[in-house]
C-alpha cells in the first residue's frame, strides 16, 4: 500500500555535487522493494511545481528510515540538497516495481553509472540478506563520482571505471576487463541512458538476462497521467508504474 508521509531529515552527508539524505517517518514504512522510488515534494522551490522522483537508496525498516542519494542537477535537487537537519520532507512511496530477484545460485552483476548507483545499494543489501553476494561494476566521470565506495565494497566484489582514469580502470563500464574474465547469469543496470543501452547491448551479445532502471520524466508517478511512457513491445507503457525497472527484452532499444 502506497502512502503520503512526512519525513524528518535526521542525517545528511555532503558529497559536493551529491548529498545523502537520511529521512525518518512517524508512520510505519510500507514494504519496499529494491528499485522502487519515491516522489519528493520540494517545498519552497518556486520553480519546482511537480514532485521529483528519486530512487530509494537504502531502507531501515526498524527506524522507519529511508535514505536518498540526490545529485544536484536543477533547482529541485539543489533545493533538496540544501535541506537542513530537522526539516520536514513530504514523500509519496513506494512507487513502481523493483528489480526481479535472481534465482538461487545465480551469478549477479550490478552496473551503476554516476548517480545511477543509488538504487543498487539497497538492492545489493537485500541480495546479501538472501545469501547472494553480487558483483558490482561502478562507473563515473572521475573518482569523486564514486560515492560510498567502501560501503558498496562491503556488499560485494566491486570494480570501478572512471573516464579520466582517476580511479579503477580508465574508460566506460562496458570496457572494464571484468567482462572478459567473468560471466554472469543476470545483469542489473542503472545509469545514464547511453550507458544502459551499451550494457544492454553487451548483455544481449552474451545472451544474458538484463534489467535496466529508467529515469523518464514524470508528473504523477502513479500511472495516471501517461507522461512517462517508454516504447516497448507492448506499446507505450508507464515507466512509473510498470517500471522503472524493465527487462531489456521488453524495450524497443
Amino acid at each position: 500500500m502506497k502512502q503520503i508521509a512526512d519525513f524528518k531529515l535526521v542525517e545528511k552527508q555532503d558529497f559536493g555535487r551529491s548529498v545523502l539524505l537520511q529521512l525518518r517517518s512517524e508512520m510505519a514504512l510500507p514494504d519496499i522493494q529494491p528499485g522502487q522510488f519515491v516522489q519528493v515534494r520540494v517545498a519552497g522551490s518556486p520553480a519546482t511545481y511537480l514532485r521529483r522522483p528519486i530512487s530509494i537508496h537504502d531502507v531501515d525498516a526498524k527506524q522507519n528510515e529511508i535514505t536518498l542519494l540526490v545529485q544536484q542537477v536543477g533547482e529541485g535537487t539543489r533545493h533538496l540538497a540544501s535541506a537542513n537537519k530537522g526539516d520536514t520532507i513530504n514523500m509519496v512511496l513506494p512507487l513502481g516495481n523493483g528489480f526481479s530477484l535472481p534465482g538461487k545460485g545465480e551469478k549477479v552483476l550490478l552496473v551503476g553509472g554516476g548517480i545511477g548507483i543509488a538504487p543498487l545499494y539497497y538492492f545489493a543489501k537485500v541480495l546479501n540478506g538472501k545469501g547472494i553476494r553480487p558483483t558490482l561494476l561502478l562507473g563515473g566521470k572521475s573518482q569523486s563520482d564514486l560515492l560510498r565506495l567502501e560501503d558498496y565494497q562491503r556488499l560485494g566484489e566491486t570494480f570501478v571505471t572512471t573516464e579520466d582514469g582517476s580511479l579503477g580502470e580508465k574508460g566506460f563500464v562496458t570496457m572494464h576487463s571484468v567482462w572478459q574474465k567473468q560471466s554472469f547469469d543476470k545483469i542489473y543496470v542503472c545509469g545514464p541512458k547511453p550507458m544502459m543501452k551499451a550494457v544492454a547491448k553487451l548483455a544481449a551479445e552474451k545472451d544474458v538476462c538484463c534489467e535496466v532502471s529508467l529515469e523518464n520524466l514524470m508528473a504523477c508517478g502513479l500511472g495516471a497521467c501517461l507522461c512517462c511512457v517508454e516504447d516497448t513491445v507492448d506499446g507505450h507503457v508507464c515507466v512509473c508504474k510498470e517500471g522503472p525497472v524493465f527487462n531489456t527484452r521488453r524495450l524497443k532499444w
Binding site: M1, K2, Q3, I4, R41, P46, A47, T48, Y49, L50, R51, V92, N216, L217, M218, A219, C220, G221, L222, G223, A224, C225, L226, C227, C228, V229, E230, D231, G235, H236, K241
Partner: protein, 301 residues
C-alpha cells in the same frame, strides 16, 4: 453538499477529478476514499485505440506543466470489456471523457457508452489541443461544436457534459452553441495551448512541439472564462483549471460553477481531492451557508 447537475447526474459534493489526471481512479485508492468525491472522470477515451504521442510528453513550467500525451488509450470497446467491470461499482459517479477525430467516432463512441448502466454521464472532449484533428477543430467554432453536440445528443440519453477549449476568442459564444445543441452542462477549461523550449539543446521540450498547459498558472484565465460562461448560459457550469485547494474551489463556485474538477493538483498531492471537499464544507460552515448551492455565482460585483 449535494449538487444536481440535471438529467440524472447528482453529485454528493461538488468535487470531481479531471480527465487524464486521475487514471481510472484505481491509481488513487491508496490515498483517496472515492466515496468522498462527487465523481471521477476517467481518461480521455476514443473509439479506436491510440498509442498517443512519442516521449517526451511533459515539461514543467512556472506554477504549471505542459503535456502532450495525445489521448493514449485502448479504445471504447476495451474500456467496456476490461476497465468498466473493474470500476463500475466504485461508490461515486464515474464519468467517461470521450474524444474523437471525426464526427462519426464521437457518435459511435457515445452510442456504446450509452449502454453502460453505471456511467451516468459523458464529458465530451471537443478541446484536446494535442491531437491532429483531436476534436480541437470542433471545439473552437460555434458551428463545429453545434454539429458534434447535436449529433451525439441524438444517440446519447444520459447527462451530456461538454468540455470547452480555452483557446478561443469568445468562450461564451461557444458555450451558448453547446447549450443550444443540447448539452446538459459545460465543463471548462481544458488546457491552454503552450510550448516549451530547451535553450541548451535548441529543441522543443515536447515531442510534438506544443502541448496543453495546466496547473495553478492557468487559474486566473479559467476563473475568468467560468465567470463569462456562467453569465451566458442557463445549464450548469463545471469549473476547473488550476484548482489546488478548497479556497480555489470556492472561487470557481462564486464565479458561477455548480461543481468543480481537480486536475494537475492530484499529481502534487494525491489526496488533494478529498481535502478540497472537506475544505469546501468547512467554508460553508464558517460562513453559515446551509447548502453548498448557495455559493454558486454568489460573487458580489
Amino acid at each position: 453538499m449535494t449538487i444536481d447537475l440535471g438529467r440524472g447526474l447528482v453529485l454528493r459534493n461538488p468535487v470531481m477529478t479531471a480527465s487524464g489526471t486521475f487514471g481510472y481512479g484505481e491509481e488513487y485508492t491508496d490515498f483517496v476514499d472515492l466515496a468522498q468525491l462527487g465523481g471521477i472522470i476517467v481518461k480521455g477515451t476514443t473509439l479506436n485505440p491510440r498509442e498517443g504521442n512519442p516521449y517526451p510528453r511533459m515539461a514543467e513550467t512556472a506554477s504549471g506543466m505542459l503535456n502532450c500525451v495525445g489521448l493514449q488509450n485502448k479504445g471504447v470497446q476495451y474500456f467496456i470489456d476490461t476497465i468498466y467491470p473493474r470500476i463500475k461499482d466504485f461508490n461515486t459517479n464515474v464519468l467517461l471523457n470521450l474524444s474523437g477525430s471525426c464526427l462519426d467516432d464521437y457518435v459511435k463512441g457515445a452510442e456504446m457508452v450509452d449502454a453502460l448502466d453505471k456511467i451516468p454521464a459523458i464529458e465530451l472532449n471537443v478541446s484536446c489541443p494535442n491531437v491532429k484533428q483531436g476534436g480541437m477543430a470542433f471545439g473552437v467554432t460555434t458551428t463545429g461544436i453545434s454539429q458534434v453536440v447535436s449529433e451525439v445528443r441524438k444517440v446519447y440519453h444520459k447527462h451530456l457534459m461538454v468540455k470547452l477549449s480555452p483557446n478561443v476568442t469568445n468562450i461564451a459564444e461557444i458555450a451558448l452553441a453547446a447549450e443550444a445543441a443540447g448539452a446538459d452542462s459545460v465543463s471548462l477549461i481544458n488546457t491552454l495551448m503552450g510550448m516549451a523550449i530547451d535553450a541548451e539543446k535548441r529543441r522543443p521540450k515536447l515531442s510534438v512541439i506544443t502541448g496543453g498547459l495546466s496547473g495553478a498558472c492557468v487559474k486566473p484565465v479559467a476563473l475568468r472564462m467560468v465567470w463569462q460562461v456562467a453569465k451566458a448560459v442557463k445549464i450548469p457550469v463545471v469549473g476547473l483549471g488550476g484548482i489546488s485547494n478548497a479556497t480555489d474551489a470556492v472561487e470557481f463556485m462564486l464565479a458561477g460553477a455548480s461543481a468543480i474538477e481537480i486536475g494537475t493538483a492530484n499529481f502534487i498531492d494525491p489526496a488533494v481531492s478529498v481535502k478540497v471537499a472537506e475544505g469546501m464544507k468547512a467554508y460553508c460552515e464558517r460562513y453559515g451557508f446551509q447548502e453548498i448551492t448557495e455559493l454558486i455565482g454568489a460573487l458580489e460585483c
